[in-house]
């Protein structure tokens, strides 16, 4: 059992008590809600005649269903409009702060909370969305929940939970050129598997992690859930504090100094006990890309798609299913795979640094003939910042569409979808069958730089080779 880790300290600080079942009643410091997983929770609350216990500790935004082209109301999709109205009504009725479209602060829930300073070290954070693990980048214990649990948090600001085990994942050394946080997490999931993290919180550490920006750490923690870990975190440090300082909801004045002291005290002790420790060498990580139908089916861009003989027997059936679905052959090089659609955005890679990295590759190049490519900023603030830097012009000149903020084609609950068996190069987080809106659509996950590399060449291309050509 772990002891002395940040996870242990935050868990203890938020423990309300032990329930008769033996589970912990855990206080939730920040509850984030959106339009997809909250309406039924509010309905359950209303049925039971319960009120929201701490309305000021819940923050709402709308992201999954918002169109990224025409956002005028009512939305063209009547169901999306209904969901939007439900959230507007529920937040008004219960006195919950709502960052609506056009407020200047709307965006993907896992983008807006950090950028406004709502996400802070030492908090417990829950949201009806599996990518809540993103917020662990700040040294928070953040995890996704279902709708019944959204109801529980609204009603009591607490959840009934069993404590997770803690696995420390160290990545040491320097990342090679052209390798990003996205590649680190795809590499980790490739090695530990999509269920390797079940029952664990992942503590990411080591010199390569410490060297990451906050946005890189968010990308990393975001995809912990893809490795089966309900939450992932990085111990807070100066990078964390520098990022938070001055943001809207950051502690101010003398509270700031108290905050730093508290946050420092929560860092995992040097002699902390872990349930497991795994180490990786940053130098071994290449630009990584998925070829199959789970995020664990990833390879370096210069590798061939693995053959069944190369895998443990229990991974072969889903690999066979992936070859068929993806229309790719074992032994085939992934580089050179023709691409139809390129998507940059999502809670994984829709932040300003992601757009800068993408624009850096797009600059002076042009999207290949026959490829549809679009960029969806993660929030209204990201969009505004990108436009202030002229990134929108770089993308538009390079042949990309420049859209309004939202979840877009990550999960295609809005008009952005693949058609037929189109294949996408996507900076998002899931390559599941049908994930991007077509039941035969295919997704290759990769970093934003690699997506641009695919867009301008029309095929999967090692972004490092592209750089050497220019």
């Amino acid at each position: 059992m772990s002891k002395g880790t940040l996870f242990d300290k935050v868990w203890t600080a938020h423990t309300v008590g032990t329930l008769p079942s033996g589970q912990t009643q855990l206080f939730i410091g920040l509850h984030l809600i959106h339009e997809v997983t909250s309406p039924q929770a509010f309905a359950m609350l209303n049925e039971r005649n319960l009120k929201v216990m701490y309305p000021q500790r819940t923050i709402a935004t709308v992201d999954h269903i918002v169109p990224t082209e025409d956002q005028s109301r009512p939305f063209a999709d009547p169901m999306a409009e209904t969901m939007m109205q439900a959230l507007e009504t529920n937040t008004t009725d219960h006195g919950i702060r709502f960052f609506n479209v056009g407020s200047g602060s709307q965006g993907i829930v896992h983008v807006i909370a950090p950028e406004q300073g709502l996400t802070q070290p030492g908090m417990t954070i829950a949201c009806g969305d599996s990518h809540t693990s993103t917020h662990g980048a700040f040294g928070a214990i953040a995890f996704g929940i279902g709708t019944s649990q959204v109801r529980d948090v609204l009603a009591s600001q607490t959840l009934a939970l069993a404590k997770l085990k803690v696995r420390r994942i160290e990545v040491n050394g320097e990342l090679p050129h052209g390798v990003f946080a996205k590649d680190i997490i795809l590499h980790i999931i490739r090695k530990l598997g999509v269920k390797g993290g079940v029952g664990y919180a992942y503590e990411f550490a080591g010199s390569a992690i410490e060297a990451l920006s906050m946005e890189g750490r968010m990308t990393l923690c975001n995809m912990s859930i893809e490795g089966g870990a309900r939450c992932g975190y990085v111990n807070p440090d100066q990078t964390t504090y520098d990022y938070i300082k001055g943001r809207d909801f950051a502690p101010k004045g003398s509270d700031w100094d108290r905050a730093i002291a508290w946050w420092q005290s929560l860092r995992s002790d040097p002699n902390a006990d872990y349930d497991d420790i795994v180490k990786f060498d940053a130098a071994d990580i290449a630009p990584t890309i998925t070829w199959g139908i789970t995020p664990g089916q990833g390879i370096g861009v210069n590798e061939a798609i693995p053959t069944p003989e190369m895998m443990p027997a229990d991974e072969r059936p889903i690999a066979e299913e992936a070859y068929r679905y993806m229309q790719l052959s074992p032994g085939q090089q992934i580089a050179g795979t023709k691409i139809d659609v390129c998507f940059i955005g999502s809670c994984t890679n829709g932040r300003i640094s992601d757009l800068r990295e993408a624009a850096n590759v797009a600059k002076g190049r042009h999207v290949a003939l026959g490829v549809k490519a679009f960029v969806v900023p993660g929030s209204e603030r990201v969009k505004q910042e990108a436009e202030a830097e002229g990134l929108d012009k770089v993308f538009i000149e390079a042949g990309f569409e420049w859209r309004e903020p939202g979840c877009s084609m990550c999960l295609a609950m809005n008009p952005d979808k693949l058609e037929g068996n189109q294949i996408s190069a996507s900076s998002s987080n899931r390559n599941f069958k049908g994930r991007q809106g077509s039941s035969s659509g295919r997704t290759l996950l990769m970093s934003p730089a690699m997506v641009v590399s695919a867009a301008v060449t029309g095929q999967v291309t090692d972004v490092r080779q592209l750089a050497s050509v220019s």
């Binding site: 938020h14 309300v16 008590g17 329930l19 008769p20 079942s21 033996g22 589970q23 009643q25 206080f27 997983t37 039924q40 309905a43 039971r48 005649n49 319960l50 216990m53 269903i65 169901m79 802070q120 030492g122 009806g128 969305d129 599996s130 809540t132 995890f143 929940i145 709708t147 019944s148 649990q149 109801r151 529980d152 009591s156 600001q157 959840l159 009934a160 939970l161 069993a162 999509v194 269920k195 079940v198 893809e226 089966g228 309900r230 509270d255 108290r258 905050a259 664990g296 229990d314 059936p317 889903i318 299913e321 999960l411 295609a412 609950m413 069958k433 049908g434 994930r435 039941s439 035969s440």
Partner: protein, 202 residues
């Protein structure tokens, strides 16, 4: 006071439905387009919508399994999106319990909160049960959460579940809401001791 009473769940018996395969994600269980709704109504009919459309003999399409109440799955079932719509779709289709090699964490938690037990068992036991159901879809499967055992025909094997969740079924507190709300005082005390709660208020 809210209705906090949820029924005790100790045994579940019924016909089985074998769904073979690892890493079946919640996007497959219920594709995102069916999440464009403000209720869970009608989700049962859409369970595995795309998989069933693409595979005519998908187990959820097969006539002998239409009355099934126990879903038997393999490894990492319910991975991916946290959408409760996935277990809601499965439950509304008619499933009352799941037996598998392993379950994704959030999916498992959602099932507990809905009163649908998910128990794990050794891979060879799960496979044997799936084969038995394929041979005889009418075989009665019985899951006992007190003895943590499954029986079906001549098969009998041990199953596992985290004790906290198991107790919630046995005590009838799987709907935790009322119990959580009842400790309002202790909640306030915990909140008060958290430094950031006071910063926010200052």
């Amino acid at each position: 006071m809210s209705d906090s009473s949820s029924a005790q769940i100790t045994t579940i018996s019924g016909h089985g439905l074998p769904l073979v395969g690892n890493d079946i994600d919640t996007d497959r269980i219920i594709p995102a387009r069916f999440l464009r709704a403000v209720t869970f109504d009608g989700l049962g009919e859409q369970v595995f919508a795309d998989d069933r459309q693409q595979l005519a003999d998908h187990p959820f399409n097969q006539k002998p399994y239409q009355e099934a109440e126990v879903l038997v799955v393999n490894r990492n079932f319910g991975c991916g999106s946290s959408r409760e719509h996935a277990p809601q779709a499965i439950a509304r289709w008619g499933i009352k319990a799941l037996i598998g090699e392993s379950f994704a964490e959030i999916f498992f938690g959602n099932c507990v909160a809905m009163g649908v037990p998910c128990v794990t068992a050794q891979g060879d036991h799960v496979t044997a049960l799936q084969k038995l159901i394929e041979q005889d879809p009418t075989v009665e499967i019985s899951l006992d959460l007190e003895s943590m055992n499954v029986t079906a025909g001549d098969l009998s094997f041990a199953v596992n579940m985290g004790d906290g969740s198991r107790q919630m079924f046995l005590k009838g507190t799987w709907d935790a809401c009322g119990q959580l709300v009842a400790s309002a005082e202790a909640i306030a005390k915990t909140a008060e001791q958290l430094p950031y709660v006071n910063w926010a208020a200052s």
